[in-house]
Amino acid sequence: MRCALIGNPNVGKSLIFNQLTGLGVEVSNYPGTTVELMQGKLCYQKSSLEIVDLPGIYSMDGESAEEELVRTYLLTSTPDAVIAVLDATRMERNLYLLLQLAEYRVPMIVVINMIDEAAHQGIAIDSESLSSILGVPVIETAASLGKNINEIVPAVLSSARPAGITVPYTPQIEAAIRSLGKLYGATRLQALMALQGIGTAGDLVEGAQTIAGEIESLNHMAAPQIIGANRHLCARRIAADVVGAQKPDRRFSADRLLTKAIPGIPILIAVLLSMLLIVFVAGSFLEGLIVEVFTALVIEPFQALSLPPLATALGMAALLAIVAGLGIAFPFVFIFYILLSIIEDTGYLTRAAFLADRVMHGFGLHGGAIIPMVMAFGCNVPAVMAASQLRTGRERTIAAFLVTMVPCSARTVIITGIVAAFVGLLAALSIYLIVFVLIVLTGVFLARNIPGGQYGMILEIVPLRMPDPGMVLKKSWTRIREFLFIAMPLLLLGSVVLGALDYYGAMDAFSLMIAPISEGVLGLPAYATTALLFGILRKEMAFETLAVLSGTADLGSVLTAVQLYTFAVISVLFVPCISTIAILLRQMGARVTLAVSAYTIMLGFLIGGLIHLIAG
């Protein structure tokens, strides 16, 4: 038996899913989309149950990737039962989705979650009367306390059935449903979808659109709006019957501070800066630990094997790639994701988006785009995936440019490892400054020059909550997976190929070739430019390669401060790493990928050349 969890975003669906399934969860991308589906199995009294956690949505008829996914999922791989999760503190709006869901006629049970929070707010819910109105079992739960979660599965197995409620639509809509049924044999659900322009049956949608046009000209209100209003009205009536009167919530809300320009914006900046600081401090510590252990346990024994030279070269290249991935980027990225999941699960991120809305408008984006931008500080790969969820091509293109310019944790390693260590802390900070100025200039330039409309932000500010540690870890793990499974294989492959090239002397030949440009334009020795090329694989490899090629870890003794600075600026700016290029290609297409790569190469060498001209 297969059953799916459906509900609004932030109703505690994932927490319920976690408690139902425990470990052994499988994450997969739904075919043809980037939206993730969580699946888990459980056994209850000898029956096996497969549970799918569908993404949180506001409507079954919406246009977002998540909403389309849930719709397609229900229509094509119809589950045997649906667990509809409602938020007890927002019953009316949650009932709106439930009424839509009822139209799919799938057996369901209703879970009213966060009943504890509702009690705090003085909201009383009559779940028995809701159960009799809907004709399905209704369970009150408090997932954060684990209350009543164990009642869900027995209810699904014993008494899930299609909800017996029908939304009464205005006579014109009802008439349209009847005539579409007669003309095309459409069910009520199909007719309603077709009236809103959703569906694949060409003649039905065409016929429905003609009727919808008539309805619109008669009412001067589009059919989707009338349908939506009818559902909201029905939801309001049900809510009036089952939700007790609510006393105004007089408790102190942190939003009095968080969403005000002052002190909200200083708090936002402080939060972001302290995130970066924590990542840096904790990351460097873990990095040292992992690299040390790995070198002692794996690399040194491998070198002691004294294999044939080619095997040693290739093996070392592969091992270095693994240590680079696991030992350097992994601690930084993972810690960053934990922090990101925390600010996301507390609900702070939506407030950040609201505050950043204005700044993002300057870049032709809106507040919602702050999320990929912040993610990019960890690793550009998942940030690009998040950016590809933006609504228009224009937004996606601009976000692709900006996100790939954000200094990810690997680039942080370069800035700190080369500049902070050998030049000075202020110099290191000045690199961040240069990068941010360039991001702002690029954003403003692109906003003015890429044609297309601007969509604004419509974003729910989710209530502030204490994050659940298990959920935070799980979310961070899901995110790091992308990094491990997309970035690591590329890193390994690229590293081995470069190792082979180096073995056959191609690198030396390349150094000779690049020498005039490197020395003349950038004022860097040829081997430094070769090291920069390694940076395409993974940014921090530029740093390691530089150390290997220059023959010493004390870079300050072989390169001048200006040379080190130039090297760091170029490697931070130019070309996203190969994993980012791959993900750009997959999500944004060849044109954007090419443009981003060409632009960042040009920018890197331009700024590098400028620094050489001025300071060299």
Binding site: Y58, S59, D61, G62, E63, S64, T89, R90, M91, E92, R93, Y96, S217, L218, N219, H220, M221, A222, P224, Q225, G228, A229, H232, L233, R236, R237, D255, T259, K260, A261, T350, A353, F354, L355, D357, R358, H361, H366, G367, Q454, Y455, G456, M457, I458, L459, E460, I461
Partner: protein, 211 residues
């Protein structure tokens, strides 16, 4: 007096219809008086006349439209909307004035004229016609202050922002402005949830204060 009488009656019918659509039932005499621009005595007389005619039924202090009453009300409402749309979108009148003017004109215009006018407005190639649903008021969300309780009257280009419908931001809904930054990004409370809107979205949502 005869003409005045009809127009007040038609205004009452129209008010009952819009109030029914907005609140879903429970239309009281007070609600109608607030919506109709005439003195109290005239409205009371008009309502009494409508009940006597059978266009309106009075049940437990609530006014309900009979089928005949509804037909008349729909026709008047349609006239109002077509006229208002014509005045504000094509003649460029300000929305408040267009609505007032439409309120007067709607009682004298014939069905045929309205049909022709409606077709004229919707003629393709006439530039982009904005949705002019309901009574346009010139105050958008940006014209209100933090803490204001307001009722949405109209949303422009709702088709572009389907999520507004799904979150409950629809005409007739009462919302509170929770936060407004100096850059006009706002947070509104709708159905118990706080929704952040960019300035360009907030400017498409029109509302009036709830008394």
């Amino acid at each position: 007096m005869g003409y005045m009488n009809t127009s007040v009656r038609e205004d009452c019918l129209e008010a009952i219809l819009t109030l029914t659509q907005a609140n879903g039932g429970s239309v009281t005499a007070e609600g109608i008086m607030a919506a109709v621009d005439a003195n109290q005595a005239a409205v009371e007389a008009g309502l009494a006349g409508l009940v006597a005619e059978g266009a309106v039924r009075l049940e437990n202090g609530e006014y309900l439209l009979s089928p005949e009453g509804k037909t008349v009300a729909e026709s008047v409402l349609r006239k109002h909307r077509v006229l208002e749309c014509f005045l504000c979108e094509m003649l460029g009148m300000d929305t408040g004035a267009a609505s007032k003017e439409a309120c007067v004109l709607e009682h004298g215009i014939s069905d045929d004229t309205i049909d022709r006018l409606s077709r004229y407005i919707e003629r393709p190639g006439h530039g982009q016609r904005r949705h002019c649903a309901g009574r346009c008021r010139e105050r958008s969300l940006l014209d209100f202050a933090e803490g204001d309780l307001i009722e949405i009257t109209m949303i422009r280009c709702l088709g572009r922002n389907r999520r507004l419908i799904d979150l409950g931001l629809i005409p007739g809904e009462q919302i509170v402005i929770r936060r407004k930054l100096h850059n006009n990004a706002i947070v509104v409370r709708v159905k118990g949830a706080d929704i952040a809107l960019s300035p360009e979205i907030a400017s498409t949502v029109f509302a009036e204060p709830v008394r």
